[in-house]
């Protein structure tokens, strides 16, 4: 799976989590820019991503995420580790 596919699926999950069907994100988007992406929905999003991609993060990895691009890279890393 390449990065743009990951981003697309991430966007789909985020739309469900924050309840905004029109939401568009890119690699530079940060949580602050998306209405409703608060600490609680962040956890929701992580769970959604873990289920969607069948991967599992550890808490420490999630601390350093700066933007959507960083999240996509982290998902990619987990997917490649899985293989």
């Amino acid at each position: 799976m390449n990065r743009s596919e990951i981003l697309e699926r991430l966007q789909k999950i985020l739309r469900q989590v924050v309840g905004d069907d029109q939401l568009v994100i890119n690699n530079n988007t940060t949580a602050d820019e998306v209405t409703g992406w608060d600490s609680f929905n962040h956890i929701n999003l992580i769970m959604g991503v873990e289920m969607e991609f069948s991967i599992r993060f550890n808490v420490a990895e999630l601390e350093n995420l700066k933007n959507v691009g960083g999240f996509v890279a982290l998902i990619e890393k987990h997917l490649s580790n899985k293989k």
């Binding site: 924050v18 600490s39 956890i43 929701n44 769970m47 289920m51 420490a60």
Partner: protein, 531 residues
């Protein structure tokens, strides 16, 4: 030593800066050592005996960080070391901060008899340096911090701009700055930016917070039986006193660090502009919220979520959440985190209530998002959304003002009696104080209105709130200079402008600095120093 004392401003700061850069150009490690030395001096100025505690704490945590790193591959040993480290840190904090209060409680409940327990003096900044180091140990164990040498570690903990009252730093954001060579070489731009931010912060402290403090102090001295006008004036003034005191302190810290080529995370991003409580906690004491979210809320919340998912339950979504889910997945970790946050601020039961009340606010806010009416597809008219904004702002601000009563009150009964007064519970005597402007004018026309002698204070509150609402904050003023490590959340202010290194700003800041210096007494402590 206080940032707002003459000793600090006239001797300590200029000398430590000058020698820092002189040494920095000769030998980097000499400059580091100097910075550590002045930081110890800064801390020891109050009470030299607490230096011993600080040094023990540093040696202990550095050793444990080192050991945890060595046993990184052997999870069980490193976790065991981490637990021992946490128990020791929290134990020390408990002893100095909570033991006496707890013993008084037991005594009050009749569980203990006999003599009083003597006194334990709270070492300055213990809550801050303990938390900084607990964060470090957790980071080492989870692979988010790497040991970088003892001197750098001591500098990370003791660097005087943050030692006493934060911002609470993460090892990973500060250490890279301390190992860079450029940090020890003079950069005039950073010095000028640092001084400018510092002057603005000092102004907030001495020209605003200290000036409205007496009104706030008065009301909390005798909370019972106040007239509603008097009570409201007092609590509104207190909210602004605390705001300007802590914002001022945090900006001074930001500015001081910048003079030494170090960039800190921010603590304040116009919290009184917030239109929801969730938003407020992301803008007020940001480094503390960040800390509690990272080390308490996230692990707990993620743990609960994982258990749900293991049972095959879906994540929570707006519109398809039950109240039971809400309580388990959201209200539980939120309350737990906020109550601990409250107690971190102090030992009395009122701090527990401060945390609990904020937990309730946050849960209501989240519940409204999940269960409340959906935002309409067609946006509101401009007028309607403006009113909506005002209403949300006012509700948020007033909720904060009420919560802060528990933060400031000497005891829980005091807090409740003051809240009683706010809603007309007290009769109050004829209030003292000077004749206010409005009263004077009304008096002139022969109209006597009781309680208008508070009008001066109320006008001050109004003016300060308008200032906060329409002017850019320090992060925005210095956005181009990257004044902090924190991303700015505030939208551009109504009157939007930026700091520039030009004559106009130079003149303004020089005048402000002069005013600051004239008002500096060095006798008023910062409110957050008591933590």
């Amino acid at each position: 030593m206080l940032f707002n004392s003459v000793t600090f401003l006239v001797f300590f700061l200029p000398l430590s800066l000058l020698i820092y850069y002189l040494l920095g150009h000769l030998q980097m490690s000499a400059a580091k050592l100097w910075l550590v030395a002045v930081s110890f001096l800064f801390y020891g100025w109050w009470n030299p005996q607490f230096l011993i505690l600080l040094i023990i704490s540093i040696l202990f945590n550095y050793t444990f960080g080192y050991l945890i790193q060595i046993f990184k591959e052997r999870r069980r040993i490193s976790t065991f070391l981490l637990v021992i480290g946490l128990i020791a840190n929290l134990g020390a904090l408990f002893y100095y901060k909570y033991l006496l209060t707890l013993m008084d409680w037991f005594h009050f409940l009749g569980l203990t008899h006999g003599q009083s327990w003597g006194s334990i003096v709270l070492p300055l900044g213990i809550s801050f340096f303990t938390f900084t180091q607990i964060g470090f140990l957790i980071d080492v164990q989870s692979g988010n911090a790497e040991e970088r040498g003892f001197l750098e570690y001591v500098l990370f903990v003791t660097f005087f701009p943050h030692l006493i009252a934060g911002p609470i730093l993460h090892h990973r954001e500060i250490m890279p700055q301390f190992v860079k060579k450029e940090t020890y070489l003079i950069n005039w731009n950073n010095v000028i930016v640092g001084i400018s931010i510092f002057i603005l912060g000092l102004g907030k402290k001495v020209l605003i917070a200290d000036q409205i403090a007496p009104v706030a102090n008065d009301i909390f001295k005798h909370t019972a039986d106040k007239h509603a006008v008097e009570a409201w004036t007092g609590v509104l003034c207190y909210s602004l006193q605390l705001y300007f005191d802590f914002a001022g302190y945090s900006e001074m810290a930001l500015g001081l660090a910048r003079m030494f080529n170090v960039t800190f995370p921010a603590n304040f991003d116009s919290p009184f502009k917030s239109k929801s409580i969730i938003d407020f906690w992301n803008r007020w004491h940001i480094s503390l919220t960040r800390y509690f979210t990272l080390y308490l809320y996230n692990p707990l919340s993620l743990g609960i979520m994982r258990r749900r998912t293991a049972k095959g339950l879906p994540p929570l979504r707006a519109g398809e959440t039950t109240w039971k889910d809400f309580f388990i997945v959201l209200a539980l970790p939120t309350s737990y985190t906020m109550i601990l946050m409250g107690i971190w601020h102090g030992a009395g039961f009122q701090f527990f209530l401060f945390g609990l009340l904020n937990a309730v606010y946050l849960c209501v806010n989240h519940a409204w998002r999940l269960f409340g009416p959906k935002a309409p597809k067609i946006p509101f008219s401009r007028l309607r959304s403006w009113f909506e904004g005002v209403w949300r702002w006012a509700l948020t601000y007033l909720s904060v003002v009420i919560a802060l009563i528990f933060f400031r009150a000497k005891s829980t009964p005091d807090a409740f009696s003051l809240i009683g007064s706010l809603f007309g519970g007290g009769t109050g005597d004829s209030p003292g104080g000077n004749q206010g402007v409005v009263e004077a004018i009304l008096d002139y026309f022969g109209v006597a209105v009781p309680y208008w002698n508070y009008s001066n204070s109320l006008i001050t509150v109004g003016v300060l709130l308008i200032f906060i609402l329409v002017l850019p904050n320090v992060l925005q003023l210095f956005e181009k200079e990257e004044s902090s490590l924190t991303k700015i959340r505030s939208t551009p202010a109504f009157f939007s402008f930026e700091w520039r290194p030009n004559i106009l700003w130079g003149f303004f800041l020089a005048v402000l600095a002069l005013a600051d210096l004239l008002m500096v007494t060095g006798t008023t402590e910062f409110l957050y120093f008591k933590l």
